[in-house]
């Protein structure tokens, strides 16, 4: 694995082939991509298309079959596994899980290490709106709350990139939208890169800046900015419309946000003006 890369690039892979063993061969065609700070990359495809295998290879949990990939030196990765991976029979309060997130390398041997990281823990709870839940048992939370707690655990490590495996699985549409809104908030607030796995293309299209589209039927993996993928000839007929609709919704959302911001600024200005008059 090479770590040589552009200065800001957090992750890159060139002609990366993934799979479970060399004799069974690669699961997917060769993949190339570069992830930079502030980008939201979505790995999209149906169940069994190889998204999780690709993600685990990027994270070093599975060896690559060929090609090369590398993370920026000293990069901090905040990993949010699927919620079903957390054993609910294990007694754990929200604060216990989030505190666990600060551990890195051999830090568990240092007494008082978690106390030194109290600010990071507090900020992680605050940014994910879970401060109120900190003394509750994880097993008693709703799916949306659980997802926010797992994100808080990942954020406690002060990551450069947040990696989420199916963050909205088994959620209703509103909860799913809320999770993506929170991801957006974190991405902008902390200048985080985000890499997430999802099979819900319409919502992904609304939020992602970049996409890796896994299509085993066409035996293709397309990666790049979402606008380019939406217009790609392999993808245009099957997914182009969904992607474009998602991008339009994002545009409308941004415009609405801009209007709100303008209104807010005008109100602030008026209030300020009135208060001056009053004085």
């Amino acid at each position: 694995m090479s770590t040589k890369n552009k200065e800001n690039t957090l992750f890159h892979c060139n002609d990366l082939e993934v799979g479970y063993s060399t004799h069974r061969g690669a699961l997917l065609p060769k993949i190339n991509l570069q992830i930079n700070p502030g980008e939201l990359w979505a790995l999209v495809g149906p169940n069994g298309s190889g998204k999780t295998t690709f993600l685990k290879t990027l994270l070093g949990l599975l060896p690559e079959l060929s090609g090369e990939h590398g993370w920026k030196e000293n990069v901090h990765i905040g990993y949010v596994p699927q919620r079903t991976r957390v054993d609910l029979s294990v007694p754990a309060r929200v604060i216990d899980l989030v505190e666990q997130g600060v551990e890195r390398s051999w830090s568990f041997l240092k007494p008082g290490y978690r106390r030194q990281k109290q600010d990071a823990i507090r900020n992680a709870l605050k940014d994910t709106h879970t401060t109120e839940l900190k003394n509750q048992r994880f097993s008693t939370l709703s799916e949306g709350q659980k997802q926010r707690v797992l994100m808080a655990r990942a954020l406690a490590n002060s990551p450069d990139i947040l990696v989420l495996d199916e963050p909205t699985s088994a959620m209703d549409m509103q909860a799913e939208h809320d999770v993506f809104e929170l991801i957006e908030e974190l991405r902008h607030g902390r200048n985080l890169a985000v890499l997430l796995v999802s099979h819900h293309l319409p919502v992904v299209a609304e939020f992602a800046t970049h996409v890796v589209l896994f299509d085993r039927e066409c035996d293709a993996v397309l990666s790049g900015p979402i606008e380019e993928i939406a217009d790609h000839h392999t993808c245009r007929a099957r997914y182009g419309r969904i992607l474009r609709e998602g991008m339009e919704r994002r545009q409308q959302h941004l415009c609405a946000l801009d209007e709100d911001t303008m209104d807010h600024l005008c109100h602030d200005h008026d209030d300020h003006h009135h208060s001056h008059h009053h004085h």
């Binding site: 949990l61 990993y79 991976r85 054993d87 294990v90 754990a92 309060r93 051999w106 490590n157």
Partner: protein, 348 residues
């Protein structure tokens, strides 16, 4: 003690003692299986009683001389039984805490399989001592080697899948238990020792074993006090720990080695039954009663220690088999804990 006016004479006493000894001999012949020709032959080659035998003789005599057993007599006889009771407490405390990891890793059968392997190792050493005259082979060596071999099999990469691992645990358990019983029948004169290994009926613990248990408990306890955050992290989510750069493989290996060492030593000193009970029951109930794993580790250690100690005291007072008594105290803790957990849930 007040003097008795009708005190028997020295001659009368001597006669009484002789009669008692004859009675005891007859009873022993009735309960012991008749030795075969081969066994008689090996009995003639039997060496002088070991320190272990001598210590147990003293303890057994003490049991016989004191017909009314109570908590007072137990503490009066502390010099004889203290080491054994404390051994129960030490092994119970250590295995109680380590049991949390066994339960969280869904490897409840691991300690059963390892303790049966250790039992087989011990019986194997007895067998080699008897048949080949290799008296330098200490049973503890057998326990250690067989536990390590079992651990190598169980931590093999080929059985990482949960289903395959469960089957392998079953295989190791059955092989260990069957081997122990088969070899046990070949060394009838050591039947008592085999029962001690399997059911933990040891009344006494020899000082060397006790000292070894103290040292091992301190070392393993220190490792776990220092590294509990790492052990907990890898047990709860190995993938996330790996992404954060924790040394998952090293921690896994260290955890398995400490588990194996604790199980092997406890089996060799106290027996397989109490060892299995210590490593499952305290952890099981501690995880139900507290809010996080850190507290569960402490509570399980306390429950385990009290199980080992109380089990021994009850065995002393009511003349019960020690291992079974310790296991039953563990079961009682589980029942009490379940009631508390139920009440807590209702009041919450």
């Amino acid at each position: 003690m007040p003097e008795d006016q009708n005190e028997p004479s020295a001659e009368e006493l001597e006669e009484l003692m002789k009669a008692l000894e004859e009675d005891a001999d007859e009873q022993e012949q009735d309960t012991q299986p008749q030795p075969t020709e081969k066994q008689e032959d090996s009995d003639t080659h039997k060496e002088e009683p070991s320190e272990h035998d001598a210590h147990e003789h003293v303890v057994t005599s003490a049991y016989m001389e004191e017909p009314e057993m109570n908590i007072g007599t137990f503490f009066d006889s502390w010099s004889l039984f203290g080491d054994a009771a404390l051994s129960g407490a030490l092994a119970g405390g250590l295995l109680g805490a380590l049991g949390i990891y066994i339960i969280l890793k869904r490897m409840v059968f691991l300690s059963a399989a390892l303790s049966q392997s250790a039992s087989f190792g011990i019986v194997l050493m007895f067998f080699l001592q008897m048949s080949l005259g290799l008296h330098s082979l200490h049973p503890m060596i057998g326990a250690g080697v067989m536990t390590f071999v079992a651990l190598l099999i169980l931590s093999s990469k080929h059985i990482e899948q949960p289903g395959v691992r469960d089957s392998a645990l079953g295989l190791v358990y059955v092989a260990g238990a069957a081997g122990t019983l088969i070899l046990g029948t070949r060394i009838v004169q050591e039947l008592h020792d085999v029962q001690t290994i399997l059911f933990g009926s040891a009344v006494a613990v020899v000082p060397e074993d006790f000292h070894l248990l103290v040292v091992v408990t301190l070392v393993l306890g220190a490792i776990h006090v220092v590294g509990w955050r790492g052990f907990t992290a890898i047990v709860l989510d190995a993938e996330d720990s790996s992404v954060r750069g924790l040394p998952v493989k090293q921690l896994e290996l260290l955890l398995m080695i400490t588990l194996a060492a604790a199980v092997a030593l406890s089996t060799a000193i106290l027996g397989a039954l109490p060892t299995f009970a210590f490593s499952i029951l305290p952890g099981m109930i501690a995880l139900k009663l507290v809010a996080n794993v850190q507290r569960a580790l402490v509570l399980a250690a306390l429950i385990g220690a009290s199980t080992g100690f109380l089990g021994y005291v009850l065995a002393f007072i009511y003349e019960l088999p020690v291992g079974a008594s310790q296991a039953m105290v563990g079961v009682a803790w589980v029942l009490i804990g379940l009631v508390i957990a139920l009440l807590k849930r209702r009041t919450a």
